[in-house]
Symmetry: C2
Subunit: 105 residues, 2 copies
């Protein structure tokens, strides 16, 4: 099944993996040591992250180092962009309101 990037980051364990990976590439075993679950469980999360290209494997003998794919993470940024103007507007309106209250004093 083709994974969805939004669904991929909805899981807290996967978000933790991404945070780890963003600092340094790790093998599945290395990741599993950080979490209170079996290696296979972590491996399933890796599969999800890999399928939606949030991480990239680098083979080194029988070990696999997974790297963070920042480019893919930018898809969020693009999705968020549609709301960015929205919250800037809301804050400008808040500023106006605060200024008005100030002037009334």
């Amino acid at each position: 099944m083709k994974q969805d990037i939004f669904q991929a980051i909805s899981d807290p364990t996967r978000r933790a993996i991404l945070t780890l990976i963003a600092i340094q590439a790790l093998t599945p075993n290395a990741m599993a040591e950080k979490f209170d679950m079996t290696r296979q469980a972590v491996s399933k999360h890796i599969k999800v992250l890999h399928e939606c290209e949030l991480i990239k494997p680098e083979h080194s003998g029988r070990e696999i180092y997974y790297h963070f794919n920042a480019k893919k993470m930018q898809e969020f940024d693009h999705w968020l962009a549609q709301f960015r103007q929205n919250w800037e507007t809301q804050f400008n309106q808040l500023d106006k309101l605060l200024t008005t209250i100030k002037e009334q004093k």
Copy 2:
């Protein structure tokens, strides 16, 4: 159950609702007309979005207009921030590589 903002946006229907709401506040019925599902199904999505404060209700008689809460959406932006530096770095490295290749020609 306290809803998680990441889990809330993982659903495509809820993302569509947010996109609609960001432009204009809507009632549950108005939203339901946009989707191919029952009003109750949409209502459950509204409940999820409301519990994690991504939308805010405004009562008007027997109708309820739900507004987009941009401030809450910024939580994503903050989470993304930890990766932003990361992808900027990766792109700088790409720039360096391209420059090197150019110079070799």
